[in-house]
């Protein structure tokens, strides 16, 4: 079934069929009706590649993540999926395996088959990012680069809350567990942590960096213990959960001996042992907003009046992995 068949069946030209089906208002109501009826009758389904070839629009948006395995992305996948489906777009998933080259390479190759892309947490240098944005509409998440629309989750503000929380519990030695150095978020979090601690006239220290992945929790836990701190803020929940496991192994009580707070509030943070105090990030919402921004930017006639950077707030969710500092340690 092609529009030619429908054209034949209704006695009009293919161009009319095309317009009746995709550009309402361009043909009279009567013929439109007739054509749509015929289309339904013949179970006509448009051919996306043909449409894409002729119009340049593919109806597909890619979500680019550095590692599908990371639970952090689960929320993004979900959020983007929802919003894209609602808008009638298809959802392509691209895993860059943590490699910037892969990232740029894949997007470059696929740019013609995409209407745009959401970058889940780009590892790309700013220059490349801007260059890429010239090839294909982009929205970044948790990565703020001038000239590229972005949505960033304001974890730094949350970090301040977390520090507040820990300080109020009597902690004076608080350490930051650092994630991968190329990670923009990691930098942002560490900066926020330093600032917050300075405000309390406390020394900022950190351990790491550690590669992303739960496995890093082991080394991280040991490093934190070694630092003599009574509390720590981990780069993300995956680290924190990994640490929890290690700490149990070593017989360290959480939070009695050590308080730990995570970041992101991923799946699992609420039922870990003990349940994790963490910065709840609206990841899913971030995905939805990113898609909305991207899509609104795609809307041809839009003179780009949309906001180019939105920041989403986080809040501290206190569970059971944080508690009063051991008084004997002060």
């Amino acid at each position: 079934m092609t529009i030619a068949d429908i054209a034949a069946a209704t006695g009009v030209a293919t161009s009319t069929v095309s317009r009746a089906l995709s550009r309402p208002g361009r043909v009279s109501a009567a013929t439109r009706e007739r054509i749509q009826a015929a289309a339904r009758e013949l179970d006509y389904v448009p051919h996306p590649p043909a449409r894409a070839l002729a119009s340049g629009r593919t109806g597909t948006v890619a979500l680019v993540v550095s590692d599908v395995t990371n639970p952090f992305y689960f929320g993004m996948i979900r959020g983007t999926q929802q919003q894209l489906k609602a808008a009638g777009y298809a959802h392509l998933l691209i895993d860059t395996e943590d490699s910037g080259e892969h990232e740029i390479e894949m997007l470059h190759t696929m740019r013609r088959s995409l209407d745009g892309a959401i970058l889940g947490a780009s590892r790309l240098p700013a220059r490349s990012l801007v260059a890429l944005a010239g090839e294909i509409p982009l929205v970044t998440v948790n990565r703020n680069v001038r000239g590229v629309p972005s949505v960033v989750i304001d974890t730094p503000a949350g970090i301040a809350q977390a520090v507040e929380h820990l300080v109020s519990l009597g902690h004076r030695d608080i350490v930051y567990v650092s994630g991968p150095q190329q990670s923009w978020s990691n930098q942002a979090r560490w900066q926020a942590m330093k600032a917050a601690l300075e405000r309390h006239k406390l020394r900022a220290q950190r351990v790491g960096p550690f590669p992303s992945g739960r496995g890093s929790g082991t080394a991280a836990a040991d490093a934190v213990l070694n630092s003599g701190a009574t509390a720590c803020v981990a780069f993300n929940d995956l680290f924190a959960i990994g640490m929890l496991t290690r700490l149990r192994e070593r017989g360290v009580q959480v939070p009695a001996d050590l308080s730990v707070v995570g970041c992101d509030d991923i799946f699992g943070a609420d039922f870990s042992n003990p349940p994790l105090t963490t910065l709840t990030a609206p990841i899913e919402q971030a995905g939805r907003v990113a898609v909305s921004m991207l899509l609104s930017g795609l809307d041809h006639r839009a003179p780009e009046p949309q906001r180019r950077a939105v920041v989403l707030p986080t809040y501290l969710t206190v569970r059971e992995s944080t508690g009063p500092a051991d008084p004997s340690r002060r």
Copy 2:
């Protein structure tokens, strides 16, 4: 940059360029070299939609899941993603929101832009599934229907192991926590459970059905408690984890008062409180295998010699949510 540009640059016909780039052996080594050099030089990137239109092959495979949110699918997403990327295919994600109609509708509409699809856990009746398989190459996971290639995870065999484990711990009242009734897996698991219990001359009972999602754990836990059983096998880990949470709330000790075993060994099962005894399913592998089957079937000249149904084994991972039955309860 189109092949026409390359043709012009090298002084050959576009057909030659096309063949030089995609069908090795059809043109002489010398010209091929020249053409490839030019292509590299001009930074030529093929236009997927055009290719798809002309050839019918899209280089895209969809993974269809009933709910992206479900952690069970995370493994599938990962497995399929890996294998597809390795084969140079793009990975489309489709969420059917648990609706069979959605499922059939979406696949029907997108069939022309897909080379095939992996059905993560189809809700479709056998008839529809077979019909759909006629429209587009399909491989199902955890769903066995004659005529449609499939990979199924042999949880039933694992269930037997789980029952063995519980019985050996002295449990006599073991209940199955039932998932959604339309779920093929749920049926299979319940059947296996009944068979295993009968083998031990024990009565098979179940509670539920409950809708999928962690929230069901609450009702499930209460129901199990109410049943007077000393142990239970849950339809999946999500249920089990939800139950664990509820049981803590109610002050029920796991495993002292109640042993619980889950299914699938999803992310989180190892660090829940207590860590969950569960049937470890090779989900990721299932995804990989499904993709391999699909892709090998796509290989034109293949007279379909490939296996049409592979079953993957599971094994019981004993952690801390199962323990001896309370002797006073015997």
